[in-house]
């Protein structure tokens, strides 16, 4: 018996604004642009939208991100589903999951899920946008103050610590991490939406400056302004709409927890493992069936550890697994085919999700992967803390 959620819903609309150093529009205005594009893309009438889920990105933390008021800005009346969601980088997948469950339960019909963020301001660096506590005036209070006192700032430090542990435990090398960055840049050269489209070599990777060792600049994702929206609809409705549906075959989450005490292996074993179990079971597939991966890639290491936890290789063997260029164009497991967050655009979980929809539809043009029956899409938030995933397919069954 197939799982009742398998193929019950599909992504029917995709809207993407220009992304990157895009100035002059608020997060709300960008979100509205993305929603308008997604509705037009789907062929739905605006009146058919009866659900709205929002995710604000880092702008939300700063207090001027999108949220529930977006409903009225968009002029959406009589919604049957509405929420502002935040599980950091895993939110995009989680929004689609919530929408799919609600639609399958008869609570709503067509749900818009939208992410918008404006972390960049004209004249400031990308690093400034995510520097975290470094910007806070005054003395840091309480135990958290030990972080600032040690010069520990932002996610770069956290992921450097995790990457170092994997390198030390398993012998993972910079060549292997660099291969991920180089391969994704190859994909980005074929993506008109990508911010970084100049090819790079492994030598360029090694020569790029240290941010927090062992992370080079080219291990780290971009920072982008912009918005992306997707629409989730029931499978029947999806088949009558304008675009090839990207059916949701499987979905899952995993949040391992970290009490910062001996016995927890949070740096190298992630929630992806739990999420994979759930999603593979629902979809009735395994790693060998996956044609394309869109893996959340805030850092090169995130890709590597996620591949391990989805069972594409054993724990610790992510390095050797990627070093032959398997993830790059022409490789056996095309991954982050739009350039990902490293080279494409950084829209949190909407980066892998948008490219997953494009590939499942077969609309990747120059970068389209020939076999796109099963597309794995993951989202990761916090420091490998929160994980959500979707398995998408152009085939309902």
């Amino acid at each position: 018996m197939p799982h009742p959620m398998r193929g019950a819903t599909a992504i029917t609309g995709l809207g993407m604004t220009p992304m990157g150093r895009v100035f002059g529009k608020s997060a709300t205005e960008l979100a509205a642009d993305a929603v308008r594009l997604a509705i037009a893309d789907s062929g739905l009438r605006k009146e058919e939208i009866d659900g709205l889920l929002t995710n604000a990105g880092v702008t939300g933390t700063a207090g001027h991100g999108i949220g529930l008021p977006l409903q009225n800005y968009l002029g959406l009346a009589n919604l049957r589903l509405l929420n502002h969601m935040n599980a950091a980088g895993s939110t995009a997948a989680q929004m689609v999951q919530y929408a799919a469950l609600a639609i399958a339960a008869g609570m709503a019909n067509n749900v818009v899920c939208v992410f918008a963020d404006t972390p960049l301001q004209e004249g400031t660096s990308s690093g400034a946008a995510y520097g975290g506590a470094a910007r806070n005036p005054g003395r840091p209070r309480g135990m958290a103050g030990l972080y600032a006192a040690a010069g520990f700032f932002g996610a770069n430090t956290s992921y450097a610590l995790a990457t170092r542990r994997h390198m030390a435990l398993y012998g993972t090398t910079h060549d292997q991490l660099g291969t991920i960055a180089v391969g994704q840049r190859q994909w980005a050269t074929m993506n008109p939406s990508a911010q970084m489209r100049e090819p790079i070599t492994l030598e360029d990777y090694h020569a790029s400056r240290w941010i927090v060792e062992p992370l080079h600049l080219l291990d780290c994702c971009l920072v982008s302004n912009g918005a992306v929206a997707v629409i989730v609809s029931g499978a029947e409705r999806a088949e009558s709409l304008r675009q090839p549906p990207a059916f949701v075959l499987g979905m899952g989450q995993g949040h391992p927890g970290d009490v910062q005490r001996a016995g927890v292996e949070a740096e190298t074993e992630t929630g992806a493992k739990l999420a994979a179990e759930t999603a593979y079971r629902m979809a009735g597939v395994g790693p060998d069936d996956v044609d394309i991966c869109q893996l959340y890639d805030c850092y090169t290491y995130t890709v590597l550890v996620t591949l391990e936890d989805y069972g594409f290789c054993k724990k610790g063997e992510g390095g050797p697994f990627v070093e032959d260029g398997r993830l790059a164009p022409g490789g056996a497991l095309p991954t982050n085919t739009g350039g990902g967050e490293l080279s494409g655009y950084y829209m949190w979980g909407m980066t892998p999700l948008s490219e997953a929809v494009i590939q499942a539809r077969g609309q990747g043009a120059e970068r389209q992967v020939a076999k796109h029956d099963v597309v794995l899409c993951t989202g990761n938030g916090g420091v490998l803390s929160y994980h959500g995933c979707l398995i998408l397919s152009p085939h309902r069954s």
Partner: protein, 141 residues
């Protein structure tokens, strides 16, 4: 904000929950919370034990010993107070009692830091606060 203040390193100050930790630090004692009900030792000064959710807690002095769980070397200047320090190390030390603490290693060059390296706390004293730093115990470098 005065320029001199902007250029100094951020020095933490105690809040109510963390006062026993910072008071202990000034006296040269590394203090941890131990749950009275299940004995679990935790570092972040949380009211509840994360294992049994009890709020009955006693602050206890730790041995001050531990080992390097992982480390990184910061090259960017995210705070002007660290402009003269880069590249500096940031380490996660797993204390013998179990909890992990973020700190810096002293008395070792960044190139010689290894995972699992045994370390011991020492205190970096400032006017009204002392910060735990860790020094490698053996000289296998």
């Amino acid at each position: 904000m005065a320029d001199t203040q902007a250029r100094s390193k951020p020095l933490p100050e105690a809040d109510e929950a963390s006062r026993p930790f910072y008071d202990g630090a000034l006296a040269g004692r590394l203090m941890l919370m131990r749950c009275d009900d299940c004995g679990t030792v935790r570092l972040p000064s949380r009211r509840h034990c994360d294992r049994c959710l009890s709020t009955e807690t006693t602050w206890v002095q730790a041995s001050g010993r531990g080992s390097v769980r992982t480390f990184a070397v910061m090259h960017r200047v995210y705070h002007p107070g660290f402009a003269d320090e880069v590249p500096y190390n940031i380490a996660v030390v797993e204390l013998a009692e179990g909890p992990r603490i973020v700190s810096n290693l002293v008395g070792v060059s960044n190139a010689d830091i290894r995972l699992g390296m045994p370390v011991e706390v020492e205190w970096e004293r400032h006017n009204d606060v002392a910060l735990p730093k860790f020094r490698p115990l053996t000289s296998d470098r």
